[in-house]
Protein backbone atom coordinates (compact mmCIF):
# COMPACT_ATOMS: atom_id res chain seq x y z
CA UNK A 1 0.00 0.00 0.00
CA UNK A 2 2.85 2.38 0.85
CA UNK A 3 4.29 1.73 -2.56
CA UNK A 4 1.02 2.47 -4.30
CA UNK A 5 0.73 5.69 -2.31
CA UNK A 6 4.20 6.71 -3.38
CA UNK A 7 3.38 5.84 -6.96
CA UNK A 8 0.27 7.97 -6.85
CA UNK A 9 2.15 10.83 -5.24
CA UNK A 10 5.06 10.70 -7.69
CA UNK A 11 2.72 10.48 -10.62
CA UNK A 12 0.35 13.10 -9.39
CA UNK A 13 0.42 15.47 -12.32
CA UNK A 14 0.29 19.17 -11.68
CA UNK A 15 -3.21 20.62 -11.66
CA UNK A 16 -3.91 23.49 -13.96
CA UNK A 17 -5.25 25.44 -11.03
CA UNK A 18 -1.79 25.28 -9.45
CA UNK A 19 0.11 26.35 -12.55
CA UNK A 20 -2.33 29.21 -13.19
CA UNK A 21 -1.58 30.57 -9.74
CA UNK A 22 2.15 30.46 -10.45
CA UNK A 23 1.63 32.42 -13.67
CA UNK A 24 -0.57 34.93 -11.88
CA UNK A 25 1.97 35.63 -9.14
CA UNK A 26 4.69 36.05 -11.75
CA UNK A 27 2.45 38.45 -13.67
CA UNK A 28 1.88 40.53 -10.54
CA UNK A 29 5.63 40.64 -9.82
CA UNK A 30 6.30 41.82 -13.35
CA UNK A 31 3.62 44.45 -12.97
CA UNK A 32 5.30 45.75 -9.81
CA UNK A 33 8.70 45.89 -11.46
CA UNK A 34 7.49 47.57 -14.67
CA UNK A 35 5.44 50.07 -12.71
CA UNK A 36 8.53 51.04 -10.73
CA UNK A 37 10.73 51.16 -13.82
CA UNK A 38 8.40 53.22 -15.99
CA UNK A 39 6.39 55.07 -13.35
CA UNK A 40 3.20 53.84 -14.94
CA UNK A 41 1.14 50.71 -14.95
CA UNK A 42 2.11 48.26 -17.66
CA UNK A 43 -0.53 46.92 -20.02
CA UNK A 44 -1.42 43.27 -20.29
CA UNK A 45 0.71 43.00 -23.46
CA UNK A 46 3.76 44.34 -21.66
CA UNK A 47 3.36 41.59 -19.10
CA UNK A 48 2.54 38.95 -21.71
CA UNK A 49 5.74 39.79 -23.58
CA UNK A 50 7.86 39.29 -20.46
CA UNK A 51 6.21 35.96 -19.66
CA UNK A 52 6.11 34.90 -23.30
CA UNK A 53 2.50 33.73 -23.13
CA UNK A 54 -0.77 34.98 -24.63
CA UNK A 55 -2.55 37.96 -23.04
CA UNK A 56 -5.64 35.77 -22.75
CA UNK A 57 -3.72 33.22 -20.70
CA UNK A 58 -2.64 35.90 -18.24
CA UNK A 59 -6.26 36.95 -17.81
CA UNK A 60 -7.21 33.34 -17.09
CA UNK A 61 -4.34 32.97 -14.63
CA UNK A 62 -5.16 36.17 -12.76
CA UNK A 63 -8.70 34.98 -12.26
CA UNK A 64 -7.36 31.92 -10.44
CA UNK A 65 -6.02 34.08 -7.60
CA UNK A 66 -9.01 36.39 -7.45
CA UNK A 67 -10.54 36.49 -4.00
CA UNK A 68 -13.80 34.68 -3.88
CA UNK A 69 -15.83 37.34 -5.59
CA UNK A 70 -17.35 39.68 -3.07
CA UNK A 71 -20.31 41.74 -4.03
CA UNK A 72 -19.70 44.02 -1.07
CA UNK A 73 -16.02 44.83 -1.19
CA UNK A 74 -15.30 46.83 -4.29
CA UNK A 75 -17.14 49.92 -3.14
CA UNK A 76 -16.07 49.98 0.46
CA UNK A 77 -12.45 48.87 0.25
Amino acid sequence: IGEIRRYLRDNNPIRVSRSLKDIAYKALQIRERLTRQNSKEPTISDIAKELDIDREDIVLALDAIQDPISLFDPIYQ
Binding site: A27, L28, R31, K40, E41, P42, T43, I44, S45, I47, R55, E56, I58, V59, L60, L62, D63, Q66, I69, L71, F72, P74, I75
Partner: protein, 145 residues
Protein backbone atom coordinates in the same frame (compact mmCIF):
# COMPACT_ATOMS: atom_id res chain seq x y z
CA UNK B 1 -10.03 47.61 -34.33
CA UNK B 2 -13.34 45.83 -34.62
CA UNK B 3 -14.28 42.51 -33.13
CA UNK B 4 -17.37 40.67 -32.02
CA UNK B 5 -18.41 37.61 -30.05
CA UNK B 6 -21.51 36.31 -28.37
CA UNK B 7 -21.94 33.56 -25.85
CA UNK B 8 -24.70 31.89 -23.92
CA UNK B 9 -24.31 29.62 -20.91
CA UNK B 10 -26.39 27.92 -18.23
CA UNK B 11 -27.44 30.08 -15.28
CA UNK B 12 -25.18 28.20 -12.88
CA UNK B 13 -23.11 30.01 -10.29
CA UNK B 14 -19.97 28.26 -11.59
CA UNK B 15 -20.45 30.11 -14.83
CA UNK B 16 -20.08 33.51 -13.24
CA UNK B 17 -16.30 33.10 -13.03
CA UNK B 18 -16.34 31.64 -16.52
CA UNK B 19 -18.26 34.61 -17.96
CA UNK B 20 -15.96 37.17 -16.42
CA UNK B 21 -12.87 35.39 -17.77
CA UNK B 22 -14.45 35.19 -21.23
CA UNK B 23 -15.17 38.92 -21.33
CA UNK B 24 -11.85 39.91 -19.76
CA UNK B 25 -9.94 37.75 -22.16
CA UNK B 26 -11.82 39.21 -25.13
CA UNK B 27 -11.17 42.71 -23.76
CA UNK B 28 -7.47 41.93 -23.47
CA UNK B 29 -7.25 42.61 -27.22
CA UNK B 30 -7.56 46.29 -26.30
CA UNK B 31 -4.40 45.95 -24.24
CA UNK B 32 -5.78 47.18 -20.91
CA UNK B 33 -3.97 47.29 -17.59
CA UNK B 34 -4.66 44.70 -14.91
CA UNK B 35 -6.76 47.31 -13.08
CA UNK B 36 -8.92 47.97 -16.11
CA UNK B 37 -9.41 44.21 -16.54
CA UNK B 38 -10.42 43.93 -12.89
CA UNK B 39 -13.05 46.67 -13.36
CA UNK B 40 -14.57 44.87 -16.33
CA UNK B 41 -14.56 41.54 -14.52
CA UNK B 42 -16.30 42.99 -11.49
CA UNK B 43 -19.03 44.62 -13.59
CA UNK B 44 -19.63 41.43 -15.58
CA UNK B 45 -19.79 39.39 -12.38
CA UNK B 46 -22.45 41.66 -10.95
CA UNK B 47 -24.60 41.58 -14.07
CA UNK B 48 -24.32 37.81 -14.51
CA UNK B 49 -25.04 37.20 -10.83
CA UNK B 50 -28.13 39.36 -11.10
CA UNK B 51 -29.41 37.36 -14.06
CA UNK B 52 -28.85 34.08 -12.25
CA UNK B 53 -30.22 35.11 -8.85
CA UNK B 54 -32.86 37.70 -9.63
CA UNK B 55 -33.70 36.97 -13.26
CA UNK B 56 -33.91 33.21 -13.00
CA UNK B 57 -34.22 32.59 -9.25
CA UNK B 58 -31.28 30.19 -9.64
CA UNK B 59 -33.05 27.93 -12.14
CA UNK B 60 -29.92 26.36 -13.62
CA UNK B 61 -31.65 25.18 -16.75
CA UNK B 62 -31.99 28.75 -18.05
CA UNK B 63 -29.52 30.56 -20.28
CA UNK B 64 -27.69 33.84 -19.79
CA UNK B 65 -26.78 35.71 -23.02
CA UNK B 66 -23.69 37.82 -23.34
CA UNK B 67 -22.44 39.86 -26.30
CA UNK B 68 -19.20 41.81 -26.67
CA UNK B 69 -18.32 44.28 -29.37
CA UNK B 70 -14.98 46.01 -29.68
CA UNK B 71 -14.77 49.17 -31.71
CA UNK B 72 -11.60 51.24 -31.60
CA UNK B 73 -10.72 51.43 -27.91
CA UNK B 74 -14.19 50.77 -26.57
CA UNK B 75 -15.74 47.54 -25.47
CA UNK B 76 -19.51 47.23 -25.34
CA UNK B 77 -20.86 44.40 -23.21
CA UNK B 78 -24.50 43.30 -23.31
CA UNK B 79 -25.81 40.86 -20.70
CA UNK B 80 -29.33 39.54 -21.08
CA UNK B 81 -31.72 37.12 -19.47
CA UNK B 82 -35.26 36.00 -20.28
CA UNK B 83 -36.18 35.98 -16.63
CA UNK B 84 -38.43 37.81 -14.19
CA UNK B 85 -37.64 41.34 -15.27
CA UNK B 86 -37.53 44.44 -13.06
CA UNK B 87 -40.67 46.32 -12.10
CA UNK B 88 -39.10 49.63 -11.14
CA UNK B 89 -35.68 50.17 -12.67
CA UNK B 90 -35.05 53.50 -10.93
CA UNK B 91 -35.64 51.93 -7.54
CA UNK B 92 -33.56 48.85 -8.41
CA UNK B 93 -30.61 51.09 -9.31
CA UNK B 94 -30.61 52.87 -5.94
CA UNK B 95 -27.53 52.02 -3.87
CA UNK B 96 -28.33 49.47 -1.17
CA UNK B 97 -31.71 48.58 -2.65
CA UNK B 98 -32.21 44.83 -2.86
CA UNK B 99 -35.32 42.76 -3.32
CA UNK B 100 -33.62 39.77 -1.70
CA UNK B 101 -32.33 40.95 1.68
CA UNK B 102 -32.85 37.40 2.95
CA UNK B 103 -29.97 36.28 0.69
CA UNK B 104 -27.72 38.92 2.23
CA UNK B 105 -27.43 40.73 -1.06
CA UNK B 106 -25.68 44.07 -0.76
CA UNK B 107 -27.89 46.01 -3.13
CA UNK B 108 -24.73 47.48 -4.67
CA UNK B 109 -24.61 45.59 -7.97
CA UNK B 110 -25.89 48.37 -10.21
CA UNK B 111 -23.82 50.95 -8.34
CA UNK B 112 -20.70 48.85 -8.90
CA UNK B 113 -21.47 48.48 -12.62
CA UNK B 114 -22.02 52.21 -12.97
CA UNK B 115 -18.84 53.02 -11.08
CA UNK B 116 -16.53 50.60 -12.86
CA UNK B 117 -17.80 51.12 -16.39
CA UNK B 118 -18.10 54.37 -18.39
CA UNK B 119 -21.73 53.77 -19.24
CA UNK B 120 -24.50 51.45 -18.08
CA UNK B 121 -28.04 51.22 -19.41
CA UNK B 122 -30.67 48.90 -17.93
CA UNK B 123 -33.79 47.91 -19.79
CA UNK B 124 -36.30 45.39 -18.57
CA UNK B 125 -39.81 44.13 -19.13
CA UNK B 126 -41.57 42.50 -16.21
CA UNK B 127 -42.00 38.80 -16.91
CA UNK B 128 -39.88 38.97 -20.05
CA UNK B 129 -36.36 39.70 -18.97
CA UNK B 130 -33.58 42.19 -18.40
CA UNK B 131 -30.83 43.63 -20.56
CA UNK B 132 -27.76 45.50 -19.35
CA UNK B 133 -25.59 47.41 -21.81
CA UNK B 134 -22.22 48.58 -20.52
CA UNK B 135 -19.36 50.36 -22.22
CA UNK B 136 -15.80 51.04 -21.27
CA UNK B 137 -13.06 52.79 -23.17
CA UNK B 138 -9.55 51.52 -22.55
CA UNK B 139 -7.29 54.52 -22.27
CA UNK B 140 -4.04 52.85 -21.42
CA UNK B 141 -3.14 51.85 -24.95
CA UNK B 142 -3.29 55.49 -26.01
CA UNK B 143 -0.19 56.14 -23.96
CA UNK B 144 2.82 57.55 -25.76
CA UNK B 145 5.91 55.44 -25.71
Amino acid sequence: MKNYMEISFLAKSENEAFARVVVASFASQLDPTIDEIADIKTAVSEAVTNSIIHGYDEDESKLVYLKCEIEDNTIKIVIEDNGNGIENIEMAKQPLYTSKPELERSGMGFTVMETFMDEMIVSSILGEGTKIVMKKTIKSNKREE
